[in-house]
């Protein structure tokens, strides 16, 4: 039988001096990747699941609209509403909202504006169709239905 050396002279301690550095590195990673939400969402948001998702290519061209039942049903009623930035807007306000968002972009990018609509899955199609109609009116034709990933069976 071979003999094993029972003890070596090297120290058995794992040096932990670099631990804070590792943690800080993780911390910075999360700080950098975190996107703090700019607006509080005031509608119910349970995003539908889909498989054929694509990523948005240019984030600065994207504006968001949230559609769903208001969280505060007593104040705003139970009908689905549209939220853009921090306020509820009516169907007729969509044109103004998109024009404002277009105003923030450079001249050659104005037609490339993408509207990402985050619609609660209990909503009916009517309100979504109205949004699409208004988007066509102002020639903002790129649309994304936000969805989360469903794993394919």
């Amino acid at each position: 039988m071979a003999k094993f050396k029972k003890k070596s002279n090297t120290s058995q301690d794992i040096p932990t001096a670099a631990l804070p550095d590792i943690i800080f590195m993780l911390l910075f990673f999360f700080m950098v990747t975190t996107v703090l939400r700019e607006s509080t969402i005031m509608v119910k948001q349970s995003i539908p699941k889909a498989t054929q998702l694509r990523k948005l290519e240019q984030k600065k061209l994207v504006s968001y609209m949230y559609v769903g039942k208001p969280n505060d049903v007593n104040k705003f009623g139970a009908e689905p509403k549209i939220q853009a930035n921090d306020a509820f807007i009516e169907i007729d306000g969509i044109i103004q909202f998109i024009e404002e968002e277009k105003g923030k972009l450079a001249e050659n990018e104005k037609d490339q504006i993408t509207i990402s609509i985050k619609v609660d899955d209990e909503t009916k199609m009517g309100i979504v169709a109205d949004i699409q109609e208004k988007m066509r009116d102002v020639n903002a034709r790129k649309l994304m239905y936000a969805a989360s990933r469903r794993s394919e069976e």
Partner: protein
């Protein structure tokens, strides 16, 4: 100086890791990883009110009809269905039917890989060729958004699978192609050449809903 003999004052830094951990956990909890993903779609341009709507001269066989009513019942090619499991394959078979044998469609047909050629049934009652084939999808204002997204997902899935197969990628890899990179762009245009994604989403009917 008299200082030389003294010990240097030290800040006890053993709790540094704990502080960092605390911050880390705070950010972990508050982070909502941006969900900028979804189904993309380009809407058709606004119809000119001065022009009459164009006449539809397409043959019935070139149109694959999907209707959904306000109680979420689905009609695919005039057949009521209860789930969407077969839809993707139906769409693929419809698009790749190649019913009309002419030079143009045969050139396109010959560029396809064997896996897609196998789907070409050349039936008289299905589409002439992929360029002509149109998927018509019509919902109602009372249709659930969930069902709408589910169907749109299957339709786009069918096309992405075809595109992927043409260039030897999976549908996932095809969707991940970055159109800003020349190599990826080349694959992208090669895959889509002759195969427009003809998904026509009609304005919803107003029978149900608000």
């Amino acid at each position: 100086m008299a200082r030389s003999g003294r010990k240097l004052p030290e800040i006890n830094s053993s709790s540094m890791a704990d502080i960092a951990f605390l911050l880390l956990i705070f950010f972990l909890v508050t982070t909502t990883i941006a969900t900028d993903k979804g189904l993309t779609l380009t809407l058709p341009p606004k119809a000119d009110p001065n022009q009459p709507p164009p006449d539809i001269t397409k043959n019935q066989r070139n149109i694959f009809k999907i209707l959904v009513n306000s109680s979420d019942r689905i009609l695919i090619e005039d057949e009521p269905v209860t789930d969407l499991t077969g839809l993707r394959n139906q769409v693929k078979e419809f698009v790749l039917n190649f019913g009309k044998v002419d030079e143009e469609s045969m050139t396109l047909y010959n560029t396809l890989p064997a896996s897609l050629k196998a789907l070409a049934k050349q039936s008289d009652i299905s589409s002439d060729n992929p360029t002509e084939a149109v998927i018509s999808f019509k919902a109602d204002r009372g249709t659930s958004y969930d069902i709408y997204i589910g169907i749109l997902d299957e339709l786009q899935g069918a096309y992405y699978e075809i595109y992927g197969d043409r260039v030897g990628l999976t549908a996932d890899e095809f969707r991940a192609l970055d159109r800003k990179k020349p190599d990826d762009m080349e694959l992208y245009s090669k895959a889509r050449d002759g195969f427009p994604m003809n998904i026509s989403i009609a304005e919803p009917t107003k029978i149900g809903g608000n």
